[in-house]
Symmetry: C2
């Protein structure tokens, strides 16, 4: 249990550090930006901020700012939600899709390196 926690801590620190460096240097993305793009691509549709919030390991405020950064970089666009005008839809742009596709192999390579010796996990 304590061992599992140490394992999680170590892998998390190492992976995050590598992802930050390599995604940042090669693709101009942070891990949070990548994660948000990843969720949108996998759903393959526009999502509400709220839906993203449930899937991403970020507070609502942090997510709001990540989306703002992504929009500034033209990787996503925000649109109003007509059914509930409090809501905000997040679209991924073509450029966002391209950037994600470009970054994905990089991320996978990092995971492969860090988790090469990984045990098989349940849960």
């Amino acid at each position: 249990m304590v061992d599992t926690w140490h394992y999680v801590l170590a892998k998390h620190a190492r992976t995050m550090c590598m992802l930050e460096r390599v995604l940042g240097d090669r693709h101009g993305l942070g891990p949070s930006e990548f994660e948000v793009l990843d969720r949108i691509v996998h759903h393959n549709r526009k999502l509400r901020i709220q839906e993203l919030c449930d899937e991403v390991h970020l507070s609502q405020s942090a997510l709001s700012r990540v989306v703002a950064r992504l929009e500034r970089a033209a990787l996503v666009s925000r649109g109003v939600c007509d059914e509930d005008r409090r809501g905000v839809f997040v679209h991924i742009t073509d450029e966002g899709r391209a950037r994600y596709a470009e970054a994905l192999p990089t991320q996978r390579a990092v995971l492969a390196e860090v988790f090469a010796d990984a045990p098989v996990l349940a849960t």
Copy 2:
């Protein structure tokens, strides 16, 4: 592999969040402060900043500030290292030991809750 990473991300986020809240509220400690005390207690001797740096998932600068906070709270004290006068030794104080002992069950309870369903891990 991707699954392992998702597992690590989820458990890390959940555990960190709970630890931050519960250690902070009940014992006035952050996760980093707790981790540093933990390392010192387990070695059961004064350690150099550098040694701590290898064991803790923090940058050198972050560690320096964590130790500064702990010293301000009188949980550790810093002393010069006579062999290498660039170095700094970190002692744990009686109060630090007491606070750690008090916080340990709290931390274990959080781990128990989060990792109740945890698979057995190698590595």
